[in-house]
Amino acid sequence: MSDTLFRQEAAEALQRKGAEHQPRRASAESGTGGDTNVGGIERLISVASGSALLLYGLSRRSAGGLALASVGGGLLLRGATGHCQLYSKLKISTSDASSKETRGIHVEKSITIGKSPEEVYQFWRNLSNLPRFMEHIKTVDVISATTSHWVAKAPAGREVAWDAEIIVDEPNERISWRSLPDSDIENAGTVRFLKAPGDRGCEVHVTLQYYPPAGVLGATIAKLFGEEPSIQITDDLRRLKRLLETGEIPTTEGQPHG
């Protein structure tokens, strides 16, 4: 429930930036509702094999036959409607239609760190700390109490940069930010710091929304955030946890090898 709330907040934060800077909303919130998520050929196969199974199953006149028939019926339905419940649950789509329209990148990730919410908030609020655990961020320069300049590493030695402002700052609880107009990457996000149960420390919940622009730069930025941006955010949060809990980030880079 709360995740949806923060997703809306992130989108609204971008919309507030004014008409000349309309964010390109992701048209398909992928994997939800009754959308088409099964591709053309797969739908044909589903219809064909589903019909065959249904007929064969019914002709068996037994409990096993009935089970087969119901599987067949399910496949037939899936092929006919182009919607697969399992794919939907797994957030998979083999249909071109939805993936082409999805331009925004939305990520929600969390991690538990064995430090108090106060300690984790303090570390994060000092934005110049962020490049220590965000692998693709080169520098974050603090410009004022609420604004900062971000430089990210891009493939082939390129860089992308943007200015950001903090729009919500609730000490020890929550920070929200968004990029300022004319950014290479429009983005907005929220990080919440919740007390974890017992002596488990702090739950860090991050919600991020990116809208890479079209064209060459957009392609570069898409690469920058990889095939699966959620994995990069997971890795960044893991580095944050390790840095705060152990004072270092474990590595094997530079060790001997035969």
Binding site: T112, T246, E248, I249, Q255, P256, G258
Partner: protein
């Protein structure tokens, strides 16, 4: 330096590689004075553990002298003689604080890979595949030890390397396997596998108060060694293990069953041939013949403890029998740090001499031959200790 590197199935070589250096503030460099080949190294040698790469330095049982320290290691000094737990632990995460050291959240640099396979990552290990950290191992002249302020344990004066070397893995592993059985007075414990871990499991079961220990293997020299540790023995090539255990325990079955064999069990039965076929076809990854037998043999309400390593997926596990008999399962890598002080003391007091299991001592340069000998169990090989 010289190091034992993996080059493929049944192919390990001594290579010349660069010396390790301090990479993080809590690192130390150890000059290795003794290192051993572990039974679980054979899973790597046989290429049954995924994500090993050509050139990886193997070895997770090693000890030596501290020669270099990172800026944050305050509890060690150059020249200290230490044994190093094979599980790498940060000492500060939720799991380390609860002494579940082998579940450390922070020591596996490739945690993402392990999460894909296991849901969550266990701790990093020395020389045991990239899935479990990709750390260079200790079958080498020098080794880098991360979180050196937590792992390495100083060896008291007067103890030889070969007496304390096995505190790095197999002695604590056997001890944890027995401790996991919550042994009560009068208990009979059955142990499958009389390799080094099995032998230390037998010794530990008695240390923890077992009435009887019954050990199962097929190699005469291993069965003899098990007898020396006080166990009654069963040769599984001569008799049916399940019915023999039942008869030996007055029809009750052993109170606890310990699988000190793991994923590459050998056996004489149909299910074992099936597993072997599946494993060779890379359809199933593990051959759980021993585990099946342990589940079937265990008395109702008993414990099945698994110090033996499993890596992937099992076929045909009799989960119905386990459920019907209300069995308890205990497993996992060893929380070495938890047991080190207690077991070091038992050696110091002369209660046990771990060096009794050593059958071969060779220089590190002969490691490739030693691996082949240990794998094929030729020349009565039970445990090989190497010196760089």
């Amino acid at each position: 330096m010289k190091a034992l590197c993996w080059h493929g199935r049944n192919d390990v070589r001594i290579d010349n590689v660069p010396d390790p250096t301090i990479l993080n503030p809590r690192d130390a460099i150890i000059k290795v004075t003794a290192t051993a080949i572990c039974g679980s190294d054979l899973h790597l040698y046989n290429a049954f553990i995924p994500t090993l790469m050509e050139g990886d330095i193997l070895g997770h049982e090693f000890m030596g002298e501290v020669v270099e320290l990172g800026s944050e290691v305050k509890n060690l000094q150059k020249g200290d003689r230490v044994v190093v737990p094979f599980t790498i632990a940060c000492g500060q995460c939720f799991f380390c604080k609860k002494t579940m050291w082998s579940l450390c959240d922070n020591s596996n640099p490739n945690a993402g890979m392990a999460e894909k396979m296991y849901g969550f990552t266990p701790s990093g290990l020395f020389g045991y595949s990239h899935l479990l950290g990709g750390y260079a191992g200790g079958q080498a002249e020098y080794v880098r030890v991360p979180f050196a302020d937590v792992g390495p344990y100083k060896v008291p004066e007067g103890l030889r390397d070969d007496q304390v070397l096995f505190l790095t893995d197999i002695f604590p592993t056997g001890y944890q396997a027995a401790e996991n059985c919550d042994i009560q007075p009068g208990d009979t414990v059955a142990v499958w596998g009389c390799g080094p871990v099995g032998l230390f499991t037998i010794a530990s079961a008695y240390m923890l108060g077992a009435e009887r220990v019954i050990a199962i293997d097929r190699f005469p020299e291993r069965l003899q060694m098990a007898q020396k540790f006080g166990a009654e023995v069963i040769d599984y090539e001569q008799v049916d293990v399940g019915s023999t255990l039942k008869e030996m325990t007055g029809g009750r079955g052993p109170d606890s069953c310990i699988d000190a064999v793991g994923m590459e069990a050998h056996g004489m039965t149909l299910d074992n041939l099936y597993d072997k076929g599946m494993q060779m076809a890379r359809i199933g990854t593990d051959r759980p013949h021993v585990l099946r037998q342990a589940i079937m043999s265990c008395r109702k309400g008993g414990t099945v403890s698994l110090p033996g390593v499993y890596g992937g997926l099992l076929n045909m596990l009799p989960i119905g029998a386990a459920h019907a008999k209300s069995l308890t399962f205990k497993m996992g890598q060893t929380h070495v740090h938890r047991y080190l002080p207690k077991l070091m003391e038992s050696i110091e007091k002369g209660k046990i001499d771990p060096s009794a299991i050593i059958t071969h001592r060779v220089p590190l340069t002969e490691a490739p031959e030693a691996y082949a000998m240990f794998k094929n169990k030729t020349d009565g090989c039970v445990k090989v200790v190497m010196t760089p």
